[in-house]
Amino acid sequence: MFCIETKKLTLTLEIVPVSSLISHEEVLAASANRLILEFKNLASLQNPIIIDENHIILDGNHRAHAFRALNFKFIPVCKIDYFNRRAKLRYWFRILGNIQHKRQAREIIESLGGILHSQPDPFTLKRAMEERCLACGIQYPDECILVDFPETEICDGVDAYGIIQVLQDKLTAQAVTLDYIPCNAVQEDTFPAQLKPDQLVLWTPQITKQMVVDCAIKQKVFAPKSTRHVIPVRPLNVNVPGQWFRENITLEEINYSFYAFLKAKRMKRFSPGMVLDGRYYEEELIVFYR
């Protein structure tokens, strides 16, 4: 294994069997199929997936799914201590567009047993959801609502996200559009002004890391696009040759090669807030290059 010590987090880079990985959420079929097609002739895997010590996938679920589908034996990972306070668990909120009227969502929620509580503003909604981690929220341009479901309907985070999935499926069946947005973007002061009259934001439940681990170990899987992990340090451009994952060699041999492969590269550290290959990274970067 190749260890990188930083002030914030220790990164352990290694190659693990694909079969050892545990997914904690489902994949989006379209994204997964696109990756499977792309990886069929994979020249190299640019970035390792991020996992915790139990091999629960924190970032890279679609890549791992594609590796499984293509029967690849091994995958490069970056193992971290998930419970390090700097590794943040964030959420994907849903922006639903082409909403005809407020009753549209309300009627579906009520049919699912949900109880709606009006909130004065997004800030209060956030606080209320932090106290009730299985509740969800709805934000219209001019109104915020906390939604509780009875304990008979939901008993854990997977159920809470499951009911969100049902709600969004029912709405999209009524020609409502769906987009995913990071929760922190919605919680910025300037966001409400950007929300259009025919849009609403579905605030997803604020589950905890422990809930993620507990559900994953029990093989209970969250709906797609539930968690969004912000890792304080991210390794990039590892670029492991694709042929390695198809070769019939032992885990020990492949890890020996992997260590030598990384050792031969140069590493550059960048502080958070940099742009690399056209993408903005809010985390510190460790970039490999020749």
Binding site: S271, P272, G273, M274, V275, L276, D277
Partner: protein
Amino acid sequence: MSQQSRMISFSAVGLYIPGIVARITGKIFEMDGNIVDVEENCRRGMFSIFLVVDFAESPIDTDQIFNALKEIEKESDLKVILDQYDEKAVTLSARSENHLVTIIGIDRPGIIAKVSRFFHSKNIMIERCRMIARGRFFSMEMVIDTLAMDMSAGRKRSESITAMKKELKLLCVDLDQSVVIQSENIYRRNKKLVVFDVESSLIQHRSLKHFIDRIKDRIPSPTDMPESATTSKDQIQALIDNARSLKGLSVQDLAKLNEILRLNPGTIELIKILKSMGFKIALLSSGFNFLVKKIFESAGVDYAFANALEVDEDGITTGRVEEPIITDETKNDILDFIMSNEQIEPDQVIAVGDGSQSSHFIENVGLSIAIKPEAAHTKSDGVIASDKVLNVLYCLGLTKEDLDKFSYPGSNNQA
């Protein structure tokens, strides 16, 4: 006319007539001539063509060929000049030491005359000259050949050329023009990356100063600016060095302060145009990353590196700068990293800064352009005397007409 020499040079100039090129080349073809060199131009309705034709395989007598080609003069009102072409001369002139000179500025009488006289005084041949933009704004591109240039006594050839470039820059300062000089080995190589030093080339100096003043008002304990921190850039550097004085500012406060910063006119358009031309774009800054984030969000770039203030979980700055800190000295390393990541060589890079210490990395690339340099002499290939950063595009051979085709909402492409 002798039958021995079968290479003929053909030049014609006059008003453009539709089909004239077809008529001339058709006549040459009918006489079994093989065109070995051609240059044709048509500008503002004026037409010129220069051809070198090999009639070695032609059964027609050379005098008859001359007469037939001279007939074009009567048929078209073009002025035609014919001559035998000496192959030895061709071989000799095939050697050259070219430089591309781009002159940019507000139009005024005498620019071309004075620059041409300068080249003549040094026995430098002007091989080609074309106007890129004309109107209130002027831009001209010249390809010069310094092979026969008079060398200064006791100087190496490269030193004489460097001295000539320096003199040309000074002449252009006198003419109130910007000038960029690219040597042949450089300008013929495809460029792939444009890297900007943010504070010195893209941010309006006045807004940077305003930003500094405001931030000094807002911080809990005013930063002790060193005496040496005379410019806004120095002061930004001083703030980085004394980041603890920014402790307590919220992310929102910083975002509001960030709104004070103004980009030089045409910055976003320039980046968008360069991107649409296929260039990768990199921003380097030894200041704060919220300066570069503004550009990234508006135009999108491939790389942006700057210093980040550490922020705690409540969004309050801790007074520390995230490591590793980017300084003027480490910009070279970052540029090396980008080139390695893109698998390109230094001469495929265009770097834009102001030629000062903060952008010294621009010296080691294919084409370096200093925007409004503070020092009279910079080591850059070219100097753009105004803050009109779109002028960089003229150094890449774009014409005013090309530039007009790129029209972005709210943009003002008048360079």
